[in-house]
């Protein structure tokens, strides 16, 4: 057999049997990479296809649930025509037909398209199962005593988380559960770490973190079993895988998704200075309210006391008011009398102006003045005539009469008339003198 050259003649059956033994012993398990073509899904539930590359091809079958439980989280990944995959398979020969084919145990997607497809399929399936439901999400503790961090113990991720948590709240304890965050061992380590943190029970919140990476790098966080372990955790889990734009299945399964590990740390712990401020403000409001309350009570008590006045005080008040009023009424009376007195004096003055005696007196003065003027004028005239009559008989007559009486009789008469106040300007015998 080792010579590779058979001298004996054997049957077809025997040849195929020997081929079968050779192949199945030499190649019990192989990992083969290729593209799916001629995909068929008969009603049996098995999946038949041809795995090919640029130069060659081989037939393959995926038996429906061949050996019970599956190994990989993505084993239920559904192959599609044209997809690049890596199969873990046994090589088997079917002697009746002299054909060999791959019996595929597990399938992993290969390449971006296939990985994306697998991701979408798993996401849709778990979502349909309700694993991502908002109702399942556990609230984060307000102030955790201890944070469990599942990540690589070296590198920027743990450093960022330690830095941010220390800055925000320096007294929150951290328990790091070190794991590999990529590679085929990563999912199992992450699941183990999750369960360890549950058992110890010291962590009040768990951060599951790694830096960003390609879809292949993030594969452990797109693992179905990891997703289920996260969802099953009784401690709230914050996922912080990759950067802003990378969403993983772990993100959907977690209770809260943070864009970055630093953001997860911020979500996990409040800021101590803000809390201290808040307490200070509350204390201030409390004290202020209390003081206000006391002041209010004091004021309403004193207002009541004010209303409970001693009646004797009211009497005193009334007495004072009475004094005040009587004083005021006296003053008012005096003021009134004064004003009437002033009014009377004014009227008196005005009345005096109207006194007829004064008028008469005035008129008399005028009359006497005129009388005097008239006599003066008359005497003047008389003396002129007398002087002219000294050379004539008339003058002699006049001189004779004037020797008897110096004042002409009409002048004496007019004087008495004036005295009587009845001024009739008639000098009846005056023309006799002319």
């Amino acid at each position: 057999m080792n010579t590779g050259y058979l001298t004996e003649i054997i049957s077809v059956s025997a040849l195929n049997d020997r081929i079968k033994n050779l192949l199945e012993e030499e190649l019990p398990f192989v990992r083969v990479e290729g593209e799916v073509s001629n995909l068929r899904r008969p009603s049996s539930g098995h999946v038949y296809f041809t795995l090919k590359d640029a130069k060659s091809q081989i037939r393959a079958v995926i038996f429906k649930n061949p050996y019970g439980a599956r190994k990989s989280g993505l084993s239920e990944f559904a192959v599609e025509e044209g997809m690049s995959i890596v199969c873990l398979a046994r090589l088997t020969v079917y002697p009746p037909r002299g054909e060999y084919q791959l019996i595929v145990e597990t399938v992993e997607p290969r390449g971006l398209g296939a990985l994306q497809k697998a991701f979408e399929q798993l996401k849709a399936r778990l979502a349909a199962e309700g694993l991502f439901d908002a109702g399942r999400k556990k609230p984060l503790p307000f102030l955790p005593g201890k944070i469990g961090v599942i990540t690589s113990p070296s590198g920027a991720v743990i450093r960022d988380i330690l830095t941010v948590t220390r800055r925000r709240f320096p007294s929150v304890d951290i328990l790091i559960a070190p794991v590999r965050v990529q590679g085929s061992e990563a999912p199992a380590e992450i699941i183990k770490a999750l369960s360890c943190l549950q058992i110890i029970g010291a962590a009040d919140v768990i951060i599951l973190a790694r830096g960003g990476g390609s879809l292949e790098d993030l594969a452990p966080f797109n693992d179905e079993k990891v997703a289920r372990a996260i969802a099953a955790s009784r401690i709230p889990v914050i996922s912080a895988v990759g950067h802003e734009t990378d969403f993983t299945i772990a993100d959907f399964a977690a209770d809260l998704r943070a864009a970055t590990p630093s953001a997860a740390a911020e979500l996990a712990v409040p800021r101590r200075d803000e809390l201290l401020d808040a307490i200070e403000r509350l204390r201030g409001r409390l004290a202020q309210r209390f003081r206000q309350k006391m002041t209010q009570r004091r004021e309403s008590a004193s207002a009541l006391r004010e209303r409970l006045r001693d009646p004797r005080r009211r009497l005193v008040d009334a007495r004072l008011a009475l004094d005040d009023y009587s004083e005021r009424i006296k003053l008012a009376a005096i003021r009134h009398r004064e004003s009437k007195r002033r009014e009377l004096a004014g009227l008196n003055i005005r009345l005096q102006y109207q006194d007829p005696r004064a008028i008469i007196k005035g008129s008399r003065t005028v009359l006497e003045d005129r009388g005097r003027a008239l006599r003066t004028a008359w005497e003047k005239l008389f003396s002129q005539r007398q002087n002219r009559a000294e050379g004539a008989p008339a003058a002699a007559r006049m001189a004779a009469s004037s020797a008897g009486q110096r004042t002409p009789p009409s002048a004496r008469k007019s004087k008495s008339l004036l005295r009587r106040g009845n001024w009739a300007p008639e000098l009846p015998d005056c023309k006799n003198y002319f």
């Binding site: 307000f142 830095t163 220390r166 328990l175 790091i176 808040a278 307490i279 200070e280 509350l282 009570r297």
Partner: protein
């Protein structure tokens, strides 16, 4: 652990302040509430002032679990 009670204490403090501000209390009640509130706020502050944190790493030795101080560097704040 007093930290677990922190949010409870804070919630109580907030409730006391709210009730006091709403004027829902008698004088005696507000005296009691004031004392209680001041005590709560002191305890809250004290909780926040607690000592430095511990940073530990989980070690697995077969099935045995233990913890040890973590000596990884923190980046400068």
């Amino acid at each position: 652990m007093s930290k677990e009670k922190f949010e409870v204490m804070l919630a109580k403090l907030e409730e006391i302040v709210r009730r006091m501000e709403a004027g829902e209390m008698t004088l005696e009640e507000s005296l009691v509430a004031f004392e209680e509130g001041i005590k709560l706020s002191r305890n809250c502050s004290k909780t926040l002032d607690e000592a430095q944190r511990k940073v530990e790493i989980l070690l697995q030795d077969g099935e045995k679990l233990s913890t040890a101080p973590f000596v990884g560097a923190e980046s400068d704040p």
